[in-house]
């Protein structure tokens, strides 16, 4: 089959599946088979977390920059789009005559607003921060996310401390489509020249710079794109929950996304998806377990996440999938597996033969790099 027909068929299949799931969530269900409200909510959250995880993976996994401020961009997208929907969206929808098409159009505008505002914020945060090295970048992104959250907390026009109600509904169809778009876009970026540049920055930034890759430009670019998608996830989250409150966007949210991609493997898109699914479903599974000695396992959720994070780092730092992807290429003749798994952000250089992973202290005499 020629290439584009394959893609068309694939897209059609995905659309049908998404529509079916979405219909199953509606009141009548799909041919009488319906998904309950609880399962629907979990699926929606899975979709939103997939968008968050895949977008964070672009900056953490493929570009090798450690950002833990993702919740901040999600918050910006959520609140910016909510502001639009609450103050302008209704009016716009009426003027277009109401109905599903008008609603869809207005919602698309809301998504775009969320994406653009979050993306621009990503640019603003990225340009000064991306001169910094790993440890500092982590703290700065955390700091920016906190500042963003505190500023939003003080803006009464979006509810301030009491929270912000958002009208409008979003179905799984929307979440599913956006999730698929996110995956496709990130996948295409990674496979392109831009992706090569990003991966080269992750592997060895100095060598990349020496080879003529404009590292700052690419780092800021991946940061902006990643933030834009986080903003979109925020839009969907806000319009799904129909209520926005700043405690939803603390660094705990950022850490949840980090755990998703660390679990799945920081260099792998399918890994991010897997991680998102597992981490979203885990609390629900924990809730099913009987209480042990007065401890409901679901309360231990965060303890389990933290312990999981440490255990992964001690035993398999590259995560479940490392940099491999699950995909249709498995159907082709067996691909040679990559030579051993590398550690997260391994900066020991490209091994010719399997070298023992001893990362020695940077610099020979005089302890040195930029503080």
């Amino acid at each position: 089959m020629p290439g584009f027909v394959k893609k068309l068929v694939g897209a059609a299949v995905i659309l049908v599946v998404l529509y079916a799931v979405s219909a199953a969530m509606s009141r009548e269900g799909l041919f009488g088979f319906g998904l309950g409200a609880y399962e629907s909510e979990v699926l929606m959250l899975v979709g939103i977390n997939v968008i968050l995880a895949v977008s964070l993976n672009l900056i953490n996994g493929f570009t090798g920059q450690f950002s833990i401020g993702h919740a901040g961009f999600m918050a910006i997208g959520a609140y910016a789009s909510a502001y639009f929907t609450v103050y302008h969206g209704q009016g716009l929808e009426q003027s277009l005559g109401g109905g599903t098409f008008a609603h869809a159009l207005v919602f698309t505008v809301a998504i775009l607003i969320g994406a653009v505002v979050a993306g621009v914020m990503g640019l603003l945060v990225g340009v000064p921060s991306l001169r910094l090295r790993g440890d500092y970048l982590a703290i700065v992104t955390l700091g920016f996310a906190e500042i963003i959250r505190i500023v939003i907390l003080n803006l009464d026009v979006v509810g301030g401390a009491t929270g912000f109600s958002v009208p409008g509904t979003v179905s799984f169809f929307w979440v599913g489509i956006v999730a698929v778009i996110t995956i496709v876009v990130v996948h295409n970026i990674v496979k392109s020249d831009t992706g090569r540049a990003l991966i080269s920055i992750r592997e060895d930034e100095l060598a990349a710079e020496a080879m003529g890759v404009n590292t700052t430009r690419y780092k800021v670019l991946s940061f902006a794109i990643s933030s834009a998608f986080a903003g979109v996830a925020g839009v969907l989250f806000g319009h799904f929950k129909r209520f926005l409150a700043t405690p939803d966007f603390t660094f705990i949210k950022s850490f949840e996304v980090i755990i998703m991609i660390v679990l799945g493997g920081m260099g792998s898109i399918t890994g991010a998806v897997l991680g998102a699914i597992v981490i979203t479903i885990l609390p629900e599974l924990l809730r099913q377990l009987p209480s042990v000695g007065g401890f409901n396992f679901a309360d231990l959720r965060l303890v389990i996440y933290a312990a999981l994070l440490i255990v992964i780092m001690l035993t398999r730092p590259q995560g479940v999938l490392g940099e491999r992807e699950i995909g249709l290429h498995w159907l082709r003749r067996a691909q040679k597996a990559p030579e051993g798994d590398r550690q997260v952000g391994d900066d020991s250089g490209v091994p010719i033969a399997q070298k023992p992973k001893a990362a020695d202290q940077e610099g020979t005499g005089g302890g040195g790099q930029n503080r």
Binding site: P128, D135, G143, F144, E146, V303, A306, A359, G367, R371
Partner: protein, 305 residues
């Protein structure tokens, strides 16, 4: 004028706490190039350790200097042991891996301590027993300084002088400085770097615990998540002063404490609500990293290939 002096006193009080915690951050970063995210939680656990020591040893009933001393020293010892355990079981195995791995591990340990704290101690805030008969001494006008504040200043100064002595006048301190300069060369010179690293963690954790107990005297409410924001601000203080630089940590801590108090105190006059308090430290961090990343007292080191 008296308000100004009061602000300074308050700012330096809270700044001393930040300084004590920042010292731990800076020392660990100096030898391992690792930001110990869990350090803020050791501050929290130090406060809780002091709480339990005070209650179990019967010092919770009425204020007593002996009780305060025992609580302080006891919590410092407990925190030192905890810090050594964290280093041994969480950080040492991943030391040989890439930097991001150690960073993620540190975040994991931090999350673990916080949420274990919530599960074990309960999320509800507790009241730390008052161990100092508090009195306020009026300086002039509205400016007053309380006995607790004098205690915080006094203990902080003593601990910092002690640390200076250890780092600059003892063999262990010289070894610490050598390891922070270049770990491999120190190893070649016969220094047991593992032991020095353990010692550094113990020292830093003890200081953080002291900060915890002192804070609890000043502000008796303790809760398991109290280490997060304070720890982050103390880290900013360490960066402001120049990370890896011990006097810098002290300077940074005092500056951040003063800045925070001034912004909250005078900000209300120009329309900045006091809820922006926490944002001050982060704003300072961003400014520092933009304009002087090495910090006030730090030296820029060139990155070698």
């Amino acid at each position: 004028m008296d308000t100004f002096v009061q602000q300074i006193i308050n700012g330096l009080t809270i700044g001393s706490i930040y300084a004590l915690i920042a010292l731990g951050y800076t020392m660990v970063y100096g030898i391992l190039r690792l930001i110990n995210f869990a350090h803020g939680d050791i501050y929290m656990l130090g406060a809780y350790a002091g709480y339990y020591i005070a209650h179990w040893l019967g010092f919770a009933g009425e204020p007593s200097i002996a009780g305060l001393a025992v609580t302080l020293v006891g919590s410092m010892v407990a925190a030192a042991l905890l810090g050594m355990a964290i280093e041994r079981f969480a950080y040492r195995p991943v030391r040989k891996y890439a930097r991001m791995t150690t960073l993620i591990t540190a975040i994991g340990v931090s999350l673990l301590l916080e949420n274990l704290g919530v599960v074990i101690f309960g999320g509800a805030p507790r009241s730390f027993p008052e161990q100092l008969q508090n009195e306020t001494y009026t300086l002039f006008g509205n400016a007053a300084i309380s006995k607790t504040q004098l205690l915080i200043f006094g203990v902080s100064v003593v601990l910092m002088v002690l640390l200076q002595w250890i780092v600059y006048k003892t063999k262990v301190g010289t070894a610490m400085r050598a390891v922070s300069f270049n770990l491999n060369s120190a190893k070649l010179m016969g220094i047991n770097t593992d032991a020095i690293i353990v010692f550094t963690f113990a020292l830093g954790s003890a200081l953080a615990a002291a900060g915890g107990v002192l804070t609890a005297q000043y502000n008796p409410t303790i809760y398991p998540l109290m280490g997060i924001i304070t720890g982050l601000k103390a880290f900013v203080a360490a960066v402001l002063g120049g990370i890896g630089n011990i006097p810098g940590a002290v300077l940074g801590g005092l500056l951040i404490g003063a800045a925070e108090t001034f912004v909250v105190g005078y900000g209300q006059l120009i329309g900045i609500p006091s809820t922006y308090r926490d944002a001050v430290a982060f704003a300072i961090l961003i400014l520092v990293l933009l304009f002087r990343p090495a910090g006030l007292l730090g030296t820029t080191v060139q990155e070698k290939v």
